[in-house]
């Protein structure tokens, strides 16, 4: 241990003056008080105000209820038999949530239930103004917990350069696939329709072309302008959008194929006209 050092004693009265100076300095500084009922407190984004329930996500796994140190989560449920999805399949059972209540008179805001929930059914909300005159009012049932869900702030943005969350990436890919399929179908329908209109009257069936017919026409211009370069353009734009290289290449190829098809169709129809 180091020897105890006594602070160097200042001349008498210096400490008194210093103390007086500190208090006087603060007198002329703005106060830090927040006039709460008149102005809202600036709360941290992850403030633990109240626990919200996304009841659609709840599978009645009971993890939150068991993890709760205060035993303040009450869950009732029953099992329902779901008929087989396919003919000859097996009937399944499913848990249905009947009651989900949190007694905020007991809750100690530890947040273990929110952390432990594997299905994102429980969330923290920064709302805190739910004081009651009657302690029974602090028992929030499912409908009240669901209402708190509207006050849950969006999750904080990801760090720059982070991968999109798996479920988001999957959803984007699935949607893209769907859109591509729809476009292909539309292209096919349009080319068919165009072939038909070319045979018959020109402006007799504009409605039959529908939305799909506009796109091939626009694509025509591009295809005619530069056949091979178009792939690169699509590829570049997709890369610029932040898509993966694999996806961009696939789409660029698809675009090229489409363009080729369209070109051939156009040539055919031109030949027919001539």
């Amino acid at each position: 241990m180091s020897p105890v050092t006594t602070p160097k004693s200042a001349p008498f009265g210096v400490g008194l003056l210093k103390g007086a100076a500190v208090t006087l300095k603060h007198l002329f500084r703005p106060a830090v008080t927040q006039q709460y009922p008149h102005e809202r407190p600036d709360l941290a984004p992850r403030t633990r105000g109240v626990i919200a329930l996304m009841d659609e996500n709840c599978t009645v796994c009971m993890l939150c209820s068991r993890a709760c140190p205060d035993w303040c989560i009450y869950i009732d449920s029953h099992k329902e038999t779901v008929p087989p999805a396919k003919e000859g399949g097996r009937a399944r059972t499913r848990n249905v949530l009947d009651r989900f209540a949190i007694d905020f008179a007991l809750c100690m805001y530890c947040g273990i239930c929110v952390d432990v929930c594997p299905f994102d059914a429980l969330w923290w909300s920064p709302e805190f103004e739910y004081a009651e005159y009657d302690i029974d009012g602090l028992l929030h049932e499912m409908d009240r917990l669901r209402e708190w869900m509207d006050t849950v702030p969006p999750p904080p943005p990801l760090d720059s350069g982070a991968d999109a969350p798996a479920e988001v990436a999957d959803a984007i890919a699935a949607k893209q696939k769907e859109l591509d399929a729809a476009r292909d179908a539309a292209d096919a329908a349009a080319s068919e329709a165009e072939a038909k209109t070319d045979e018959g009257g020109d402006s007799s069936k504009p409605a039959a072309k529908s939305a799909g017919s506009g796109k091939p026409n626009v694509a025509d211009v591009h295809v005619e302008g530069a056949g091979e370069q178009l792939d690169q353009e699509v590829y570049d734009s997709l890369i610029a959008e932040g898509k993966s290289e694999r996806m961009a290449r696939a789409k660029a190829k698809a675009a090229w194929v489409r363009a080729q098809k369209q070109k051939q169709l156009d040539e055919d129809s031109d030949g027919g006209d001539a």
Binding site: A20, V22, L27, T33
Partner: protein, 354 residues
């Protein structure tokens, strides 16, 4: 013997003496009550606000604009509260104690000159009266401490008695020096003496704070201790004695003790203004206008100086920690009393030589 018992008569007429005895009495009582009730509350509001801002808070904000009516609201709250008397308490003494503390604090304002001609009475022994009546207050505190049947109250009351006796001496000795220099114990004469001091036969205007800075500092510290204001609030010391002699008091009686404290703060500040800061004079050498306007201006100047001193008392409260009981006694007996005796010697020498 009879001469001693004769009441000191008023010397200079007050503007409040309007000929009609009843009307004059009403005016005088009005001045005393306004000083004790209203100005005390203003001082209390100043304390709330100044203390709040010194601690980076805002102080009261809700009752009235910027919390100006907070103390009125507090008073209404105190009146509504249940008046609890402990079972083992000495009931009559317990009930009388706040009044015994409050009335002397109010009576002090009887002799306090507020402006030219504005005073309830100008007694020949004004300073003596003011200090004597102020000392009666300790009786109320002792009574409250004893009658509460509570160990904290008792310790608080005894501490208060010890402290008030210890600080009575430097207070009186410092005031005595002012009396020596002014050549009178009348508070009005003391104010006048600060306008017409004579140095080697030349009349000059000089507030007594300049020749008696030491006396002023002693008086200020002793006054803070007399009022049991922090950092001299050993009798209350809420961290050790709950609330000292006020522990068992609730409601209106508690409010009376608090009002005594605020009223005492105004009274002691007023006394310091009269003794050391030239009373109603704006600055040394600045002439006051005559008549009503002069009187009103004088009252305003006095009240402004009182508020300034209250601010300093509050400032000391915020800035300094409470003194320990032995430190508190040491400061009085070993430092302030010898210094005040020295002050008297210096002033007396100056009075004789100059």
């Amino acid at each position: 013997m009879t001469t001693i018992l004769t009441l000191p008569l008023a010397q200079q007429a007050s503007v409040l003496d309007v000929g009609n005895f009843a009307l004059s009495a009403v005016f005088k009582i009005g001045v005393v009550l306004v000083m004790f009730m209203v100005i005390s509350l203003v001082g209390g509001y100043l304390e709330h606000k100044a203390m709040g801002h010194m601690q980076a808070r805002t102080g009261p904000m809700e009752a009235g604009p910027h919390g100006t009516l907070q103390l009125v609201a507090d008073g209404i709250k105190f009146v509504q509260k249940e008046d609890v008397i402990p079972r083992n308490a000495d009931k009559w003494v317990f009930a009388a104690a706040p009044g015994v503390a409050l009335v002397p604090a109010m009576l002090g304002f009887y002799v306090l000159p507020l402006g030219p001609g504005v005073w309830a009475a100008d007694l020949e022994l004004g300073l003596f009266y003011a200090l004597a009546i102020g000392s009666i207050g300790v009786l109320g505190i002792l009574m409250g401490g004893w009658a509460s049947a509570n160990k904290f109250s008792l310790i608080g009351g005894l501490r208060a008695a010890a402290q008030l006796i210890a600080y009575e001496l430097p207070l009186i000795l410092a005031a005595a020096a002012v009396g020596i220099q002014a050549g009178s114990l009348s508070l009005v004469d003391i104010v006048d003496a600060q306008m017409t001091m004579q140095v080697f036969g030349t009349p000059i205007t000089m507030w007594f704070i300049i020749p008696q800075l030491l006396g002023f500092v002693i008086f200020f510290i002793a006054a803070m201790a007399e009022l049991s204001r922090p950092p001299f609030d050993m009798p209350i010391a809420d961290s050790e004695l709950v609330f000292g002699y006020m522990t068992e008091y609730t409601g209106i009686k508690f409010a009376m003790y608090l009002l005594t404290e605020y009223g005492g703060m105004v009274f002691m500040s007023g006394l310091m203004v009269v003794l050391y800061l030239g009373g109603w004079q704006i600055l040394p050498g600045v002439d006051m206008p005559e008549g009503t306007w002069g009187a009103l201006l004088g009252v305003g100047v006095t009240l402004g100086k009182i508020m300034l001193l209250i601010f300093v008392i509050v400032w000391a409260r915020v800035a300094y920690p409470r003194l320990r009981e032995d430190q508190l006694q040491k400061i009085s007996w070993l430092i302030l009393i010898p210094l005040s005796l020295l002050n008297i010697v210096i002033v007396a020498l100056g009075k004789v030589l100059l």
